[in-house]
């Protein structure tokens, strides 16, 4: 028998079995849809978490407040020096004027403070440098460098470095970011394994129902591939159809959850994420579904082969 004839017959029986065992197929698809839905929810939640963590990370910085009388030269040489550090991702210069504008904006409803400010002969605020690290764990090193710079250079023009004050907060944030990553990964692994086992067991049950048929096929002298093939084809169909169902369900769901997700996560919009990563998401879900369905069938039939 040629290879193609076997493929044709196996595929035909796989498709026939899929439609004729309608109820079994329906329950297998239902369970696999839930499995793949959990998988996609984990992917999306992971992306949301990453986006939130990224936002938080950019909000952490070290602010170096310069003396009111610090010269442009002093500020520029500090800025140049910090920029050369490999851990630093950006250095932003806030001039005395913009510091004042920000202060006035922040206290626009506080007439007393504004009057006090206006009564002063000069702008009391110094310029500042906002330094961002590539990674939150590197702030300690940058802060150390700045302190050394301040101590070794009497005319550095530095008034104070606020990292020391924020150190506890930054350390805690670093810890939270790290812990969130680990927790999310652990939850993802546990949920992933649980849904995998449930899907595998459902397919095993579907094949258990067909065990008498398998024994007949064995007695008639069918090769292992001829017995196994149709089940693998049906399993493949369960997986692919479930993936398509999940992709379709996700569309209205993400449209609905788009605005609230943006409100909740800051910059992360679940709908934009779904649209922008659709090809990748489809590939992952279809691939996982197809492999999970066909591999489960392949393994489950094995014990009934003689």
């Amino acid at each position: 028998m040629t290879f193609w004839v076997t493929i044709k017959r196996v595929t035909r029986y796989g498709l026939l079995g899929f439609f004729r065992n309608g109820f079994v197929s329906l329950s297998a698809i239902f369970i696999m849809t839930i499995t793949l839905f959990v998988a996609s929810a984990l992917i999306i939640f992971g992306a949301a978490l990453n986006s939130v963590l990224k936002d938080l990370t950019t909000k952490v910085d070290i602010t170096v407040y310069m003396m009111v009388d610090a010269t442009d030269d002093q500020i520029q040489s500090l800025q140049q020096s910090v920029k050369t550090l490999s851990q630093v991702s950006s250095v932003e210069y806030i001039s005395r004027e913009s510091a004042l504008a920000t202060f006035e904006e922040r206290h626009k409803n506080d007439q007393l403070t504004l009057q006090a400010l206006q009564s002063l002969p000069d702008n009391p605020l110094g310029a500042s440098l906002e330094i961002r690290a590539k990674d939150p764990s590197q702030y300690a090193a940058i802060s150390k460098y700045l302190e050394d710079y301040q101590n070794s250079n009497s005319s550095s023009g530095i008034d104070r470095i606020n990292f020391v004050q924020n150190q506890v907060a930054i350390d805690r944030l670093t810890y939270i970011i790290d812990a969130s990553h680990k927790t999310a990964l652990t939850i993802a692994i546990i949920l992933g394994i649980a849904s995998l086992l449930i899907a595998f067991n459902t397919i095993r049950l579907a094949i258990y129902i067909a065990r008498d048929e398998i024994s007949v096929m064995n007695i008639v002298g069918a090769s292992h591939w001829f017995v196994r093939g149709p089940f693998v084809v049906s399993g493949f169909m369960y997986g692919v159809l479930s993936a398509i169902i999940v992709l379709v369900i996700l569309y209205p769901l993400t449209v609905w959850l788009g605005p609230p997700s943006e409100h909740f996560f800051g910059t992360f919009n679940v709908y934009s994420y779904y649209v922008s990563t659709f090809p990748l998401l489809a590939l992952i879900l279809l691939g996982t579904g197809a492999i999970l369905g066909s591999a489960s069938s392949y393994l489950a039939v094995r014990r009934y082969l003689q």
Partner: protein, 227 residues
């Protein structure tokens, strides 16, 4: 053609043997009825012939080949050369009658054209041409058994094993099935039949092997059912 050489089968250690020290030869073209009470070891003996059960001791030969020494591939080829019919029909419930019979041809690698020609022909032989597109659950017990026989003979096997084929059937249907088996035997196929049914054995009037508690207690070349 078929030779059981001092065959013993013990299913679990400590239990009594299902089949004990059996030596039995069967020639091509014979129609052998194997009779005995339930648990006498009839089915176990037949199952060893198509290697659904392996002997604990001794060997089973088909032609000159030891069945228990066959590779997986040779075993499948052997099974295609032995037709099997069971009390519970064992049809593929999700396949229609055409597909049930075509399946046996497909696993043997027959072409689509041969299948299209052979299936109606064999269904005609068992008198079920009009049920070709029905599913097993739409057929009566007698009809299902005739489909099972059609499937068993469609590959033109050398041997047809019928394990209590009339056990679930009324006397009229049982008689029809035996007539079909006789017709197949007349065409040259060796038949091994196990049954409880005295009138069937007596009506066949060929060799009768009587078993009791795993042993052969009588072997008559043109015997009757005696227990």
């Amino acid at each position: 053609m078929i030779y059981f050489d001092k065959v013993t089968k013990i299913y679990s250690s400590g239990s009594a043997p299902a089949v004990e020290d059996i030596t039995l030869g069967i020639e091509p073209g014979e129609f052998v009825s194997i009779v005995g009470h339930s648990g006498a070891g009839k089915s176990t003996l037949l199952k060893m012939l198509f290697a659904e059960v392996f002997p604990t001791e001794g060997s089973v030969f088909f032609g000159s080949r030891d069945i228990n020494a066959l590779s997986q591939k040779d075993l499948r080829i052997l099974r295609r050369n032995i037709g099997t019919v069971f009390q519970d029909f064992r049809l593929l419930q999700t396949k229609n009658i055409f597909e049930n019979i075509a399946f046996a041809l497909e696993v043997a690698g027959k072409s689509d054209a041969d299948i299209e020609a052979d299936v109606p022909h064999v269904l005609d032989l068992v008198g079920l041409s009009d049920k070709i597109w029905n599913f097993p659950n739409q057929l009566s017990g007698g009809e299902q058994q005739r489909v099972a026989i059609a499937r068993a003979i469609v590959n033109q096997p050398d041997v047809l094993i019928a394990d209590e084929p009339t056990g679930n059937l009324d006397p009229v249907n049982a008689h029809d099935i035996v007539e079909i088996l006789k017709k197949i035997n007349d065409l040259g196929t060796t038949i091994l039949l196990t049954t409880h049914n005295k009138s069937i054995v007596d009506s066949v009037g060929r060799r009768v092997v009587t078993m009791d508690r795993g042993r052969i207690i009588r072997d008559d070349s043109s015997g009757k059912y005696v227990l």
